[in-house]
């Protein structure tokens, strides 16, 4: 397979935007409740632990991919052969698709709960998928551009935290380290879903110019996500007490509600609308990567792969009916993601270390990326 031509590649620093925008998605709108369940007001420590652990994972992923100079599909093929490797790649693609579905469906759920209770899921799914299609069809450059614009458009939302800080109770944080280590680790597991998403780099890394230079940007992206989450958790924790937090499903969204400007109030409407630019890069990078993966695996045209995928996601999105099912979807995907990241990636890393000696580097290069 030929090397990707340079004019289709994107700059290494794009890894920063693509990693953060993939990580920050719907989770941040209401993740405070989940992590506070076990770790209480110390949950911010879990956010930091999670962020640092994910930095290790990013390092591992870069090691795995750079050793073979390929994407994950090439790695699978080299390590496990055509059939087992292909199956593993296929399963991974299914997981990635389910994360797209989760993000999409959860956002639709937020829209239905907060803005339009009577809006039919098929209509809004159709519109959002059409939007995603118009981006993905433009290729990785357009998708990456969306993540840059999405990043900058969502930055002003930080300013809204000011209104919550006006009514802050800073003593909510005391006493620090009041929870056991196992509590903190449980909360860390809970925070996983919110850091998920960067693993799509397994598929799009060959499209970054000088992949080795992009690694520091990916780490920075992850750190930015951690920083964002820390601020979010901090503001939510000083505004709500733990009791309240347990009954607040969308803590971040609720905080937008208290914004009060002379010409506008109830900012959650504007916030959710703006949040489209956070969700869209998620969906688009997902669709692009998975359709690219299918194209690599089965030699189907990427366009047809994309259309088929969109159709399947559309059907699945309609099949998820109510809040409970959205919740189940989130939990399950988060669990699978947890195992893939904390078990499968290290496993792959070790396997490659062992097998890598026998195979040598030459073989990896032969079936390089494409």
């Amino acid at each position: 397979m030929s090397q990707i031509s340079e004019n289709k590649q994107i700059s290494p620093y794009m890894a920063f935007y693509m990693v953060t925008t993939m990580q920050i998605g719907v989770g941040i709108l209401g993740f405070e409740r989940y992590i506070a369940k076990t770790a209480g007001h110390d949950a911010w420590i879990s956010v930091i632990i999670g962020g640092l652990l994910f930095n290790v994972l990013i390092w591992m992923i870069y090691r795995i991919l750079s050793r073979e100079n390929a994407d994950i599909i090439g790695v699978h093929r080299n390590l496990f052969g055509r059939w087992i490797g292909g199956t593993l790649s296929f399963l991974l693609l299914i997981y990635f698709s389910s994360t797209i579905l989760t993000v999409l469906r959860t956002y639709i759920e937020v829209i239905q709960i907060w803005i339009f209770p009577e809006l039919g899921t098929p209509i809004i799914t159709f519109i959002l998928l059409g939007l995603a299609y118009s981006y993905v069809i433009g290729g990785i450059r357009v998708v990456a551009g969306l993540s840059v614009l999405g990043f900058f458009m969502s930055l002003p939302l930080f300013l809204l935290k000011y209104y919550a800080l006006k009514n802050a109770h800073y003593t909510n944080f005391l006493p620090i380290l009041d929870h056991s280590f196992s509590d903190l680790m449980a909360a860390t597991k809970g925070v996983t879903l919110d850091y998920l998403g960067f693993e799509l780099i397994l598929l799009y890394l060959p499209f970054l110019k000088h992949p080795e230079k992009s690694q520091k940007w990916a780490h920075l992206g992850n750190l930015f996500t951690m920083f964002t989450y820390l601020i979010t958790v901090f503001v939510s924790f000083v505004y709500f007490n733990q009791e309240q937090l347990q009954h607040t499903i969308w803590a971040t969204l609720t905080l937008w509600k208290i914004v009060d400007l002379p010409f506008a109030q109830r900012f959650e409407y504007a916030g959710i609308a703006l949040w489209l630019f956070v969700i869209l890069p998620n969906i688009c990078i997902g669709f692009w990567s998975v359709s690219r993966g299918i194209h690599r695996l089965y030699k189907i045209k990427q366009k047809s792969a994309l259309r088929t995928m969109m159709f399947i996601i559309f059907i699945c999105s309609i099949l998820v009916v109510d809040r409970q099912q959205v919740d189940i979807l989130n939990t399950k995907v988060s669990q699978i993601g947890f195992y893939i990241l904390y078990a499968y990636i290290p496993f792959l890393f070790v396997i490659q270390l062992i097998l890598g000696k026998g195979n040598g580097k030459g073989k990896g290069r032969k079936t390089s990326n494409g």
Binding site: V142, P262, I272, A273, F277, L280
Partner: protein
């Protein structure tokens, strides 16, 4: 598709009929030419006999009688070579190619023959160009700065630019475009600064134009743009020679057509459409603030009515109590839903604008004022629209005029209608979705193959110094990297720094 194929076939046939012209003989040509009333052939019999043929309407009679005839009638001349030697003129061609003769004569050359049937003739250039005087720029008026605007003659226009860039690297490539109009199109760039790829793209696209007549540069603008269906203009259309000179020095390419008082420049980026050339004549702080105001105006112009419709239709909770009272009072006895109210008002403003643009300027102004005030007040008093919306719509219309490039302001005018429709269906979310669709379109758009929203994406921090704000000239030390100039530096940074010291 079938229609399209047919069209192609037709074109091929036409091309064929063109090539059969190759068998044209000289007598046939003369017959064709004399069929026209303004073509004349004069037999001169003084010391020697020869025939002079020309179009009376193309040739300057003063030139003919003062500069041509005296030289050839006062001497015995045997053949065309003799004539050529004795005429103190340049650009003369001796030709026996029928097509060459046909082309030259129709351009304004005088044909001199020794015998009437001779297939060989001497062609003397004598073009009389009727020009408009150079006048003040009208669409891109600036209070300070040069007040020259392009006119309809390509040579005059090139002169206006060349005197601003008196360097040998300033290069003009000329191409003829249009089967009937044979319009002279010039592609202008500075060699050594402009990227060769950009220049080649421009030349190739102009060369590829297949059309019978090209009257204005705006034809070319549409024909060579990267995406013909986009409402966004992809090349800047300017009437200011100073702007063209400064754009050329940034490493861009300009395209001009004979007969058009506008130049096209590219590759361009979307931010350039919102920068007036006057920005460079003002202090950078002022210019930056005005640029930001202009950007806000664009946002306001596009989004204000859609947001009004969205909020009043779906999210009236977003309006604070005090403001709500005002809005309720104003909308109390309006029988229409917000969307209908907004569309009717927007359309009537468009109507006024369109009427004003079609009428002579003095009448147009009156119509605008009378229509605006009378219709507006009457509509509010009749209880058909709320006065809050009237204010918003009027301000939005005003804001759309702040865009310095006329074609972009038309785009902005149009852009708010899809937003209105989305706002009616999905409220603020609809506005966001519509915006996302436009962003996706902009991300895919290119100008001469270069990204359209360049300093923003691909993010070029260095180019931001002259994008949303304009930094001082001391910071403007490099040309925009999005056009890939061959020579990146505008000035020697080191030398510039050395000159700035305390007490120096």
């Amino acid at each position: 598709m079938i229609f399209f194929k047919k069209k192609k076939k037709n074109q091929q046939q036409e091309a064929k009929s063109n090539s059969t012209k190759g068998t044209l003989t000289f007598p046939e040509l003369m017959k064709k030419l004399t069929a026209s009333a303004d073509f004349s052939t004069v037999k001169q019999t003084s010391l020697s006999t020869f025939y002079i043929s020309y179009y009376k309407t193309l040739v300057n009679p003063e030139f003919l009688h003062r500069d041509l005839l005296p030289y050839i009638t006062e001497m015995p001349l045997k053949n065309l070579d003799d004539i050529q030697k004795h005429l103190p003129l340049d650009g003369m061609v001796k030709s026996n190619d029928v097509h060459d003769i046909a082309n030259k004569v129709t351009e304004g050359f005088i044909l001199i023959q020794m015998n009437k049937g001779d297939p060989e003739g001497l062609l003397v250039p004598s073009l009389s160009t009727e020009n408009r005087q150079i006048s003040i720029p009208e669409t891109e008026f600036s209070v300070v700065g040069p007040k020259e605007a392009f006119v309809e003659s390509l040579d005059t226009n090139l002169n206006l630019i060349r005197k601003r860039l008196p360097i040998p690297e300033f290069t003009v490539k000329e191409v003829r475009v249009g089967k009937l109009s044979k319009t002279r199109v010039a592609i202008i760039y500075i060699d050594g600064i402009a990227d060769a790829e950009n220049v080649n793209t421009a030349i190739q696209r102009v060369n590829d134009i297949e059309y019978d007549h090209v009257v204005d540069s705006s034809y070319i603008n549409q024909m060579i743009s990267d995406n013909e269906n986009s409402p966004f203009p992809q090349l800047i259309d300017t009437e200011r020679p100073d702007r063209v000179a400064s754009v050329l020095s940034e490493g861009k390419v300009a395209i001009m057509a004979d007969g058009s008082p506008h130049a096209l420049t590219g590759p361009t980026t979307i931010v350039e459409f919102f920068s007036a050339f006057e920005d460079y004549f003002l202090n950078w702080t002022l210019a930056s603030v005005f640029r930001l105001i202009r950007l806000m105006a664009v946002m306001f112009s596009v989004l204000s009515t859609p947001l009004y419709v969205a909020v009043l239709t779906f999210h009236y909770e977003m309006i604070p109590e005090n403001l709500l009272a005002t809005l309720v009072a104003s909308r109390n006895d309006i029988p229409f839903p917000p969307i209908l109210e907004a569309i009717v008002l927007e359309l009537s403003i468009e109507l006024l604008r369109e009427a004003g643009a079609r009428l002579p300027s003095k009448v147009g102004q009156t119509i605008g004022i009378v229509g605006g005030i009378v219709i507006g007040t009457a509509a509010v008093q009749a209880g058909l629209t709320s006065n809050v919306l009237l204010i918003i719509v009027a301000l939005a219309a005003l804001a759309s005029f702040t865009t310095p490039v006329y074609q972009m302001s038309n785009t902005i005018r149009l852009l708010r209608f899809p937003f209105l429709i989305f706002a009616q269906f999905l409220g603020v979310l609809g506005v966001a979705i519509c915006f996302a669709f436009i962003v996706s379109h902009l991300l895919k758009l290119t100008s001469l193959g270069r990204p359209y929203i360049a300093p923003l994406y691909p993010l070029r921090v260095n180019d931001l110094k002259d994008a949303l704000i304009r930094m001082p000239f001391s910071v403007q030390n490099s040309r925009p990297s999005s056009v890939r100039p061959q020579d990146k530096a505008k000035m020697n940074k080191k030398r510039a720094k050395e000159k700035h010291d305390i007490e120096d």
